[in-house]
């Protein structure tokens, strides 16, 4: 967990700053006691019911396989939660004045809801549609059924009286999912740079003036061990 690693590092920096002589002794103890100082688990925005949907969804969209752990273990639900709880979820950089009108799809999102509210409204609508179809909540579905349901939502085939579920999924949920996979791990997703390792993105510092010629047309060794913002902080 990136949060755990970060807390431990800060703790060690503070100890080392206080007393160099003591540091070696305390380091061993701190490492052993690491779980005790782990960032508390929990969501800032999602309720347990909402989290159940999101966790089930990211585990369907990113199943545990030979490539990565499941979506929750990759931090994808954590990423989405933090985005919804933060500036993005509250409408940062989004024009939010009326009058409110609907229009062509190219005009994009046109609702007065914040992204966080819209995200949760969509969860509710998706759960209603899911329960109607399967007599089960989304998180109770077998993964093949859950996957097929998401495909239908993405294709705009699941109707809701109020929430435009196709736009909800393609315009809000899916971009957050992709960001959760590939954004820098400081945002809570892409745990341990798992997606960067998967594709071979070397991350930071990206100082490639020599590499440009040395590794033109060749495998770049740095892609095997990506570095992120935390490694340079």
């Amino acid at each position: 967990m990136s949060g755990q690693g970060n807390s431990r590092r800060i703790f060690l920096k503070q100890v080392a700053g206080a007393s160099g002589a003591l540091a070696a002794v305390v380091t061993a103890g701190a490492a052993a006691a690491a779980p005790a100082i782990e960032t508390p688990a929990g969501y800032e925005s999602l309720s347990p019911e909402e989290a159940a949907f999101v966790e089930a969804m990211v585990n369907v969209m990113c199943p545990a396989d030979g490539l990565t752990p499941n979506g929750v273990d990759c931090g994808l639900a954590e990423y989405i939660d933090r985005q919804l709880a933060g500036g993005f979820g509250h409408g940062d950089r989004l024009y939010r004045s009326g009058p409110w009108r609907s229009g062509k799809p190219q005009l994009g999102y046109q609702l007065p809801l914040t992204p966080e509210q819209f995200f949760k409204g969509g969860i509710g609508a998706a759960q209603t549609a899911c329960t109607r179809r399967f007599s089960k909540r989304f998180e109770e579905l077998a993964s093949a059924d859950a996957d097929a349901f998401l495909q239908e939502v993405a294709a705009g085939k699941i109707a809701d009286a109020k929430v435009p579920l196709g736009q909800w999924f393609n315009g809000l949920v899916y971009p957050l999912f992709v960001q959760a996979c590939f954004a820098d791990p400081i945002y809570g997703g892409n745990h341990a740079k798992v997606f960067w390792k998967l594709i071979g993105y070397p991350g930071l510092p990206a100082v490639h003036s020599q590499n440009m010629t040395a590794f033109r047309g060749k495998a770049f060794p740095g892609a095997l061990d990506p570095k992120s913002i935390q490694d340079f902080s």
Binding site: K104, Q110, G200, A206
Partner: protein, 586 residues
């Protein structure tokens, strides 16, 4: 309420590239200048420092260096009979904020346009006949020639240390350069960037088809460079964080590196940051701009800055909005074709063909904003349009500017959007694919224009600018022709797989980034009936008001717009030196 300040000689609206270049010419001769810029100085910000500079989410996806759409956006309708709606989160183009403006977060692709671009109507009529241009395509000559702009192109390339290979020096075609290039007086000040692996593949395929590939002219410095003002660039690190980012290495030629730090040392130059311009006081009877009104965002106080000369030097959208807001010049009316402000609003028309190479390492993350290889055979009027049913064109190139992983991943068509197969496709192809892309023109159409929205307002209570805009048949046909050409090159490149040509189709979608190049709205020309400013960029209805930037372009070419607007800005500086000594219609 409003504090009236002492009069100054020249006041600029907007502290971006053009204001800096014009100010450079003026302050060199001691003319007093004040620049009003709505943003701050970002040189010490997280955007310009490692490690936060390399944050794709923050700068690349959330666009935190671009205009804050919560404060001010634009509305759109595809035709005049539609109801406009605000673009609540704009992706299509990226106006900047802060000292240096959008030219800080640019890629650095620096073109001189074709020699005949400023006389495009004359060129097309002479080649295809007087009736060849449809009445709806409101092309017009600029009233300035390339030859007049050439010395200023040359100066700008020196100031910005542009890296490239000349294709045409004084009429002599140069091997390795662009044979369609307008004649230049001398070689670029710096040699080209390193070619990428994608560039090698593209170059071989293009040559095999008989085309003449060449390196993109780049504002990314190939070496340590000192410009004529003594300002320095460091060598580019090919980090793949150019457009939408600031360069922490000071390797990207930009106003905040090369121009403003120099200007701030000059006596007579003043930059007022966090100054949001609200309007221009205009004396309709005297036909003069009197002062610029602005809000100091740090105090909430409103000021009036009188000046002998007012220069509107904002992003095209803002420059047009200000003239419409204070009704300086007659607003354009598409029903009658009369009026000028808002006329000839253009965007650009791009498309891509992805190609995949199982056994080649493309390594997209090793790239600069301009580290591309290009062919220019199908741009503008470099090819015969007889019988094609369209005018215009574009350059075709390796669109390898970065490998930022949230956005820059290519997977073969038919790949699922999530799940194990999706992950596998990303693992297989991320480092082994690139786009053969088209950077295409967009010619004006009488139905495409800008005016003020009747319903929506910005955070300061002013009307939003409204785009009435869509792609037209000319654009769709051009895109189809050019995309097929890009596909031909890709198909000759030895790829494992080549995507089907996907030309631009459907209505304009401001949620999709194509290029950040919007033009027009305050266009230049020799006829006051069809232009807002004269060939010297002097407003026809206000002798002491000038407009500079891409808003003065009568059409949008298949090239990136920075070169000509920089040349026009430097030329304006010299024109204003002349004007301030002896005010008159230039």
């Amino acid at each position: 309420m409003t504090t009236k300040l002492p009069k100054r000689t020249v006041v600029f609206v907007g502290g971006g590239l053009t204001a800096a270049l014009t100010s450079r010419q003026l302050t060199a001769k001691g003319v007093d200048v004040v620049v009003l810029e709505r943003g701050g100085d970002l040189r010490e910000s997280a955007a310009a420092k490692i490690p936060s500079q390399r944050d794709e989410l923050r700068w690349g996806v959330q666009n935190r260096l671009a205009q804050d759409w919560a404060v001010e956006t634009y509305t759109l309708r595809h035709t005049a009979s539609d109801v406009s709606l605000p673009v609540r989160r704009m992706e299509a183009f990226l106006p900047g904020e802060g000292m240096g403006g959008a030219a800080n977060h640019w890629n650095g692709q620096t073109w001189r346009w074709s020699e005949y671009d400023p006389v495009l109507r004359t060129r097309l009529e002479s080649r295809y006949g007087k009736k060849a241009i449809p009445a709806s395509m409101t092309l017009q000559d600029w009233g300035v020639t390339y030859a007049e702009m050439e010395p200023y192109h040359d100066l700008f390339e020196r100031l910005f240390g542009i890296a490239g290979k000349a294709g045409n020096i004084k009429g002599e075609i140069q091997p390795g350069g662009n044979p369609f290039e307008a004649p230049r007086s001398r070689e670029y000040p710096q040699p080209p960037l390193e070619i990428t692996e994608a560039g090698q593949i593209f170059k071989a395929a293009a040559q095999q088809l008989g085309f003449k590939p060449f390196p993109m002219p780049a504002g990314n410095s190939t070496g340590a460079y000192t410009n004529p003002d003594g300002m320095k660039l460091a060598p580019c690190q090919y980090c793949g964080h150019c457009e939408r980012f600031l360069c922490e290495a000071n390797a990207k030629a930009s106003p905040q590196v090369l121009l403003y730090p120099m200007l701030l040392q000059r006596p007579g130059f003043e930059l007022r940051l966090y100054s949001h311009v609200l309007g221009i006081n205009y004396d309709r009877a005297a036909k003069r701009a009197i002062a610029v009104r602005y809000l100091d965002l740090q105090t909430g106080e409103e000021y009036e800055q009188p000046a002998d000369v007012v220069v509107v030097a904002a992003f095209p959208m803002t420059s047009t909005k200000l003239l419409l807001h204070d009704r300086i010049g007659e607003p354009y009316d598409p029903r009658t074709g009369k009026g000028v402000v808002g006329r000839n609003f253009c965007y650009q028309v791009t498309s891509s063909v992805p190609a995949f190479y199982k056994d080649r390492w493309i390594n997209p993350f090793m790239a600069a904003g301009s580290s591309q290889t290009v062919v220019d055979e199908f741009n503008v009027d470099n090819f015969d349009h007889s019988g094609l049913g369209f005018f215009g064109g574009g350059y075709i190139y390796t669109a390898t500017t970065n490998g930022r992983p949230i956005v820059s991943r290519l997977v073969p068509s038919g790949t699922p959007r999530w799940g194990s197969k999706w992950k596998q496709a990303n693992a297989d192809w991320y480092a082994h694919a690139f786009n053969f892309s088209v950077h295409g023109s967009n010619y004006p159409h009488r139905e495409n224009y800008l005016d003020l929205d009747p319903d929506y307002r910005d955070a300061y209570g002013q009307p939003l600018l409204r785009m009435t805009y869509n792609f037209k048949d000319n654009d769709y046909r051009m895109s189809e022709y050019l995309t097929n050409k890009a596909h031909e090159i890709a198909a000759a490149s030895g790829a494992t797989m080549v995507g089907a040509p996907a030309p631009r189709r459907g209505d304009f979608d401001p949620g999709i980034y194509q290029t950040t190049h919007v033009t027009g709205g305050t266009i230049m020309g020799a006829d006051p009936k069809t232009s807002v400013v004269s060939p010297h960029l002097q407003h026809w209805d206000a002798e002491n008001l000038f407009v500079v930037g891409a808003s003065v372009y009568p059409h949008n070419s298949g090239y990136n717009p920075t070169g000509p607007l920089a040349a026009l800005a430097l030329r304006l500086g010299d024109d204003l030196l002349d004007y301030s000594g002896r005010p008159r219609r230039l």
